[in-house]
Point group: C2
Chain length 219, copies 2
């Protein structure tokens, strides 16, 4: 394994609560970012917070998000914009003997930074490749490539993973000693998982187009 | 069925892109909010956007979120704060014959508003009930109730569902006519679902505490 630089927390990326849930190594950050499907992109528009769900992709310490050139969020980011990208995986519902100790098992990553519009054509095409590999691994090699018109209609923002924090809650329920001793309620974890179902071929495909391996192996 | 008021979009809750994906009735909003497990709460702290994953609960047209009284987000909301709450369900990966038409099936709700701290004791206890019913239905009746110290240590914010939008992408892949005619790649939808696994009892439970029906029926 290569050596991984620790996360470099600034005040806003340093957890003020439940510090025991803070994971401070880069491997944990990469794991969360690589496993989840979508992120929630936060920005300030006309003074108000806006949070939008969107796809993303990671290449090393760069996170890419993309959208239509017409999208408000992408226009706002055209000159660089302060963003917060949050990625969350829910792993379980934690039941405790007391209401107060109910919780969730989860892994979340929060990245702060100035998003940079990707204007260099080579980097932009690379970013689309990275985004596609995240959403649909194998499609970049399998599907029809991006043409010039399509390429022009998409905007890409890049965010450096320099200022990031990871928070993880895992494992068993925790109860107060008096509830452990005298409580009667059930306590434990109900696992939560994201799964893929059976692929459904598009209605307009001829009947003899098989579901390719890169899709099949995901489900 | 009772009659549902339509959503009341303001400029910031009116979709500027892909208007065909906008669902405008309240039933769609309720469905998304009631099915998802967590929301992403966006606020502005020291001029920067911050997006935090958190639990929530809905009662009619009020959304409740809670956190420790010490949490930065809760302290910021103590006098009322502009927030954006986004809830997203991912339903599928959409593969197309072209990279450009790859997409996701999803349902998302975005709510804007001024969050109000819940200070009335009765409403606050009601909010904790609503939050518990969302996270762990049945636990409010089953587990040990919230005591005075626990009650004091939690902050609750309420958000009116007046300014909200719902966006839905569902159904088949869509390809350009030339790709439908001449393309060779596979296209279709890989469904994505969130499922519950087998409940795991806490290590400190005596062996004879059965998993209760309200947990069992979820998995």
């Amino acid at each position: 394994m290569t050596s991984l630089a620790p996360l470099s927390p600034t005040p806003r990326s340093t957890l003020t609560r439940k510090k025991n849930r803070a994971a401070t190594d880069r491997a944990a950050l990469y794991e969360v970012l690589d496993e989840a499907l979508i992120c929630h992109l936060g920005l300030v528009l006309d003074g108000s917070p806006v949070v939008l769900p969107t796809g993303y992709g990671r290449d090393g310490d760069t996170l890419y998000v993309h959208g239509s050139t017409g999208a408000q969020s992408m226009r706002a980011g055209a000159n660089g914009i302060d963003v917060c990208v949050t990625v969350t995986l829910v792993d379980g519902i934690v039941y405790a003997r007391s209401i107060n100790n109910h919780s969730m098992n989860y892994r979340s990553a929060v990245v702060h930074g100035q998003a940079r519009p990707v204007t260099d054509a080579d980097e932009k095409m690379h970013a689309l490749h990275v985004l596609t590999d995240h959403l649909a691994p194998g499609s970049w090699e399998h599907a029809r490539e991006v043409n010039a018109k399509e390429f022009a209609s998409v905007s890409v923002l890049a965010l450096d993973l320099a200022e990031a924090s990871v928070k993880i809650r895992a494992g068993d329920a925790v109860d107060d000693p008096e509830d452990v001793e005298n409580g009667t309620a059930w306590a434990g974890v109900l696992p939560v998982r994201t799964v893929y179902g059976e692929p459904v071929s598009a209605g307009y495909l001829p009947g003899d187009v098989p579901v390719p391996e890169h899709v099949l192996k995901r489900s």
